[in-house]
């Protein structure tokens, strides 16, 4: 290393000269690659509807009209919203209360229990898909909205717990203690002291849970039926079998949704600090 140092000091090499510029070119390539797929769908969504070419030969709102007027697309979108909201509610209640319980007590095996409750995060969705499929088919619950919400909750709850831990860390325990000394019961303390202090984490966790459920495809593909099909499942089949141009309009709407979520998250996390 010392020898290399001497050489560089004597005469900046060609590589040394070009390094900063090459670095920036490589970074720009990376940024373009990252956003290109999201951005490409927007101009395509204003095409005329018969073929998917970029750039479109002429512009119209035809694809959006197709999406909003076709009842099957509307039905699967409604189902996804329904499952997403239910999953959000269930995983918020389960996740926040578990995170609160874990962060306010000490018991043997606490670390192990936490790892266990976070473990679905590390599990491939295909594994949970098969497990849920085998299980729900025994119970006769394949194709039900209940099954979808249960499976999605498993996926979202670890993220809710992680977000809840982060929020609860900043709640001063002396406040809870003070309230307790003055005679407030546990639930009253949670309602009046803890919850108001962690509103940003609750919003972040809700967004997380809703979007994760709304985008989930592999498990839903296994355990939904024609009647309970979600938007991603229908999109999956549509890309798999016949790429329909209406996908461009749906993709653009979803891109706008993701963009909104990511702006909201970064605003909330800044306020949180």
């Amino acid at each position: 290393m010392a020898a290399m140092g001497k050489r560089t000091l004597k005469r900046p090499s060609l590589a040394e000269h070009w390094f900063p510029a090459l670095g920036i070119v490589a970074a720009i390539f990376g940024y373009v690659f990252l956003v290109l797929p999201s951005l490409i769908v927007i101009p395509m969504s204003f095409g005329t509807g018969s073929e998917l070419v970029f750039p479109p030969r002429s512009y119209s709102l035809e694809l959006y009209r197709q999406y909003f007027q076709e009842s099957t697309w509307m039905a699967v979108t409604g189902q996804s919203v329904k499952v997403g909201l239910a999953t959000m509610a269930v995983s918020l209640v389960f996740g926040f209360s578990a995170a609160y319980g874990i962060s306010r007590t000490n018991f043997r095996g606490k670390g192990l229990l936490t790892v266990f409750l976070l473990s679905p995060m590390f599990m491939p969705h295909i594994a949970m898909a098969l497990a849920m499929y085998l299980y729900l088919s025994r119970l006769g619950l394949v194709g039900t909205t209940f099954g979808l919400v249960a499976a999605h909750t498993l996926v979202t709850v670890p993220f809710v717990i992680v977000t809840a831990f982060a929020g609860l860390r900043y709640v001063d325990r002396n406040l809870e203690l003070a309230a307790a000394t003055m005679g407030a019961g546990r639930l009253r303390i949670i309602w009046k002291v803890v919850l108001p202090l962690i509103v940003p984490s609750i919003i972040v966790a809700s967004l997380f849970a809703f979007l994760l459920s709304f985008d989930e495809v592999v498990i839903s593909y296994f355990i939904s039926s024609v009647q309970s099909e979600t938007l991603p499942v229908k999109m999956y089949s549509s890309i798999h079998w016949e790429i329909s141009p209406v996908l461009a309009a749906i993709s653009s709407l979803l891109t706008v949704l993701s963009f909104g979520a990511c702006v909201a998250m970064s605003l909330l996390q800044r306020n949180d600090q």
Binding site: S38, M123, L134, C262, R270
Partner: protein, 269 residues
């Protein structure tokens, strides 16, 4: 206090432990108590081929992701905080974008009449036709795009954790930027690179959507084989054995990740 944990614990017992136990049982008992499902995994040419392509695709995608991610993470690291936050949006947008939107966009981008081929034709003549869809390159491009944000977060975290005085000292001593990068920044970011690669491997081993939509028949991965057994051949025992194998592989890698950085996948949020 324990009462707060009970509802979720019960939920996990009923909807996580029991279903997974059922998978293990199915892998051993379907159709009758036998180790033959596992034996078949490691002897049948089909399974060995799929296992090999799963490992190949995961490895190649991780390497491709690292090569694209590092310059981006390094660039982000060099920016003042305000501009870094702004540029982070470019990383977060794909992170929050549905994998189906991405797959759809790639089928349009990479196709015979896609933008990439149009550019290639403009540059290298009308006869150029790059085959980028429904084959190995297509899967790797799609997977790398999915994995990029995770890798960038991991590397950026370790870059930002570095002591800036080291760089300054090297600058004062007259070291050029490449020299500083090679002997300080890069070696110190190794933990981030290792963590990022392990995360990408875990995520890619169980990949289902990308190989199904952007790959060809030769790019089938373990997850696609599981689906084939459930939906077409109805061989639940084999599907379960494949799943157990996948869980063991990703579980072992995840254990290494938690060991390496005392956290886990969760820290990317």
């Amino acid at each position: 206090m324990i009462a707060f944990i009970v509802p979720l614990a019960v939920f996990f017992a009923v909807f996580f432990v029991l279903p997974l136990a059922l998978v293990v049982l199915a892998s051993l008992f379907d159709p009758v108590l036998t180790g033959s499902n596992y034996q078949e995994l490691f002897t049948s040419p089909l399974y060995l081929r799929v296992l090999r392509s799963t490992l190949e695709i995961s490895g190649l995608s991780t390497v491709a992701t690292l090569l694209i991610a590092y310059p981006v993470a390094y660039h982000l690291y060099k920016q003042p905080p305000r501009r870094r936050t702004l540029l982070m949006t470019l990383v977060l947008l794909p992170f929050w974008t549905s994998i189906l939107v991405k797959s759809f966009a790639f089928t349009v981008l990479l196709g015979q009449d896609g933008i990439i081929n149009n550019i290639a034709r403009a540059l290298f003549g009308q006869d150029t036709a790059l085959k980028l869809l429904f084959n190995r390159p297509g899967v790797i491009i799609g997977m790398a795009h999915y994995l990029l944000p995770f890798m960038i977060f991991a590397i950026l975290t370790s870059l930002l954790a570095q002591n800036r005085d080291l760089r300054r000292a090297a600058e004062v001593m007259g070291a050029g930027r490449l020299k500083i990068f090679r002997s300080i920044t890069l070696p110190l970011s190794m933990p981030g690179i290792v963590a990022g690669c392990l995360i990408c491997l875990v995520l890619s081993l169980g990949m289902f959507v990308t190989p199904a939509l952007l790959g060809g028949p030769k790019d089938m991965m373990l997850a696609n084989l599981v689906e084939m057994h459930v939906r077409q051949t109805l061989d639940w025992g084999l599907a379960a054995a494949l799943t157990v194998l996948l869980i063991i592989m990703t579980g072992a890698l995840s254990a290494i990740i938690s060991h390496v950085r005392g956290g886990g996948l969760g820290s990317h949020g």
